[in-house]
Symmetry: C2
Subunit: 208 residues, 2 copies
DNA sequence: GTCCTTCTTGACTGTTCGGTCAAGTTTTCT
DNA sequence: AGAAAACTTGACCGAACAGTCAAGAAGGAC
C-alpha cells in the first residue's frame, strides 16, 4: 500500500487523464476496432483479448485507457449519440419553417445511420442490458424532445393537425429507426427512395 | 464406446424426444423462467446455473431438454414468432376489406406486444448476434410479406395510393415496432391512444 | 415383479474471461 | 541531464461458465 502514486484508471470523481498524441491515437484505434468487432460479433462474444490482439498491443494498454470493458462500450455510445445530435442540429440550422426542420431532421437521421451501421447494431444490443439501456434512454428522450419541439411549433403555426406532440414525435422516430435498422441489418439499401418514403410517411401522415 | 444407447439430445436429423406429462411441465417451466431472466438480465449475463437454480432442479435437467443454451433461445424465439403470426391471422380473419385487414393487423401486433414485453426485449438482443438474427430475419420477411399482400390488395382496389407495397409494409412495421418497443423499454404505456395513433400514422399516411 | 425408458442429480472438467501488477520503456517537462 | 509522467508488456489470478457423465430414482408397460 505504501507503493508509488498509482494513477489507477479514471478516478471516482473524474480525472480526464492527460493523453499525449500517441495516447490519443492508441485510444482511438482501440475505440474503432472495438466498435467494429462488437457490431459484427456481439459485445459478449468479443473479449478484451480479441481487441488488444486485433490492435496489436498488450492487454495492459486496454486498461490504461479504459477502466473496464463496460465503460468502453458506454464511451462508444455516448460519443455516437452526441455526434448524431450534432449532425441533426447542423442539418436543421437554415430551415425556414417547422415542417422543413422536421424533414431535414428525418433525412439527417437516416443519412447518419447509413454512414454508421455498426453503431446501429450496437445500439440494438444496448437496449437489452440495463447498464447500457440507461444511456440510450437518455439519448432517445432528448431526440424525441427535440423533434416534439418542431412538431409543436408546426401545430401552433397551423401546419400540423393538433395532437400530442410528443407522441407524434415518437411515431416519427419509429419510422426512421425502423428503416435505418432494416438497413443496418442488411435487408435494404438506404437510397433516395427510402428517404422519400420516410418523409412522406411522417409528414403526410401527420400534416392536417 | 460399448456403453448404453445414449439418446444424447435431439439428434442431427431430429428425434422430437417423447415427453411424459411431467417432462412437458418441466420443459415449460424452464422455457418460461429462462425467457423472463433473459429479458430482465440479458442473455449472456444469465447462466444456465441461474436458470436451473431458479427452477429448483439439477443442471443435468437442462441438458436433457435442450441441447444447448443457444438452442433454448432459438426455441423461445421460434415459438414467439409463430404465436404472433397466429394471433394476427385470427385478428384479420373476418375483416371486410384490405384497409380493415391492415388496421386489425396493426392493432393485433401492438396488443400482442403489450402482453409479451419480455419477448420484445429478447428480440432486440437477438438482432445483434448472427445465430439468432437469422431467425428474426425470417420472421420479419414473413411479416412484411403478409402486410404487403394487404397493401397491394388495397392499391389494386384503389383504396391506397400506388407505390411499392413492400416498402410501405416496411414502414408500417416501423411504426408498430417502435411504439411496441418504447413500451417494452418502459417509456410509455400501450393504451388506446397509442393504438389509435399507430393506425392513424400508418393508414392516413398511405391512403391516397 | 421386472424391464425399459424417461427423468434427475451434482460433482467435475476444460476453458475462457475480465482484470491486475511488477517491471520496464518512451516521452515530456524543467 | 535528470526527474516525472505517460505508456507498454505479458505472465498471472480467481472466478465463472457451458457442457459432461456415471450413477441412480420414478414411473409406465407387461
Amino acid at each position: 500500500m505504501s507503493s508509488a502514486a498509482a494513477p489507477r484508471s479514471t478516478s471516482e470523481g473524474d480525472a480526464p487523464r492527460r493523453l499525449t498524441a500517441r495516447g490519443r491515437d492508441r485510444k482511438k484505434a482501440l475505440l474503432d476496432f472495438a466498435t467494429a468487432r462488437f457490431a459484427e460479433n456481439g459485445f459478449h462474444p468479443t473479449s478484451v483479448s480479441d481487441i488488444v490482439d486485433g490492435v496489436g498491443v498488450g492487454k495492459g494498454v486496454f486498461y490504461w485507457y479504459f477502466p473496464s470493458k463496460d465503460e468502453l462500450l458506454l464511451e462508444i455510445l455516448r460519443e455516437a449519440l452526441h455526434d448524431l445530435r450534432k449532425t441533426q442540429k447542423e442539418a436543421i440550422r437554415d430551415a425556414e419553417d417547422p415542417l422543413q426542420r422536421l424533414e431535414r431532421g428525418i433525412r439527417a437521421s437516416l443519412e447518419w445511420s447509413a454512414t454508421h451501421p455498426e453503431v446501429l447494431r450496437l445500439t440494438m444490443f444496448c437496449w437489452t442490458e440495463e447498464t447500457f439501456a440507461k444511456e440510450l434512454r437518455k439519448g432517445r428522450r432528448i431526440n424525441i424532445a427535440d423533434t416534439a419541439t418542431h412538431v409543436q411549433a408546426g401545430i401552433d403555426a397551423g401546419m400540423i393537425a393538433p395532437g400530442d406532440a410528443t407522441m407524434l414525435a415518437t411515431a416519427i422516430r419509429g419510422v426512421t429507426d425502423e428503416l435505418a435498422r432494416s438497413y443496418a441489418v442488411g435487408q435494404r439499401s438506404l437510397d433516395d427512395e427510402v428517404l422519400n418514403l420516410a418523409v412522406r410517411m411522417c409528414l403526410h401522415g401527420i400534416v392536417g
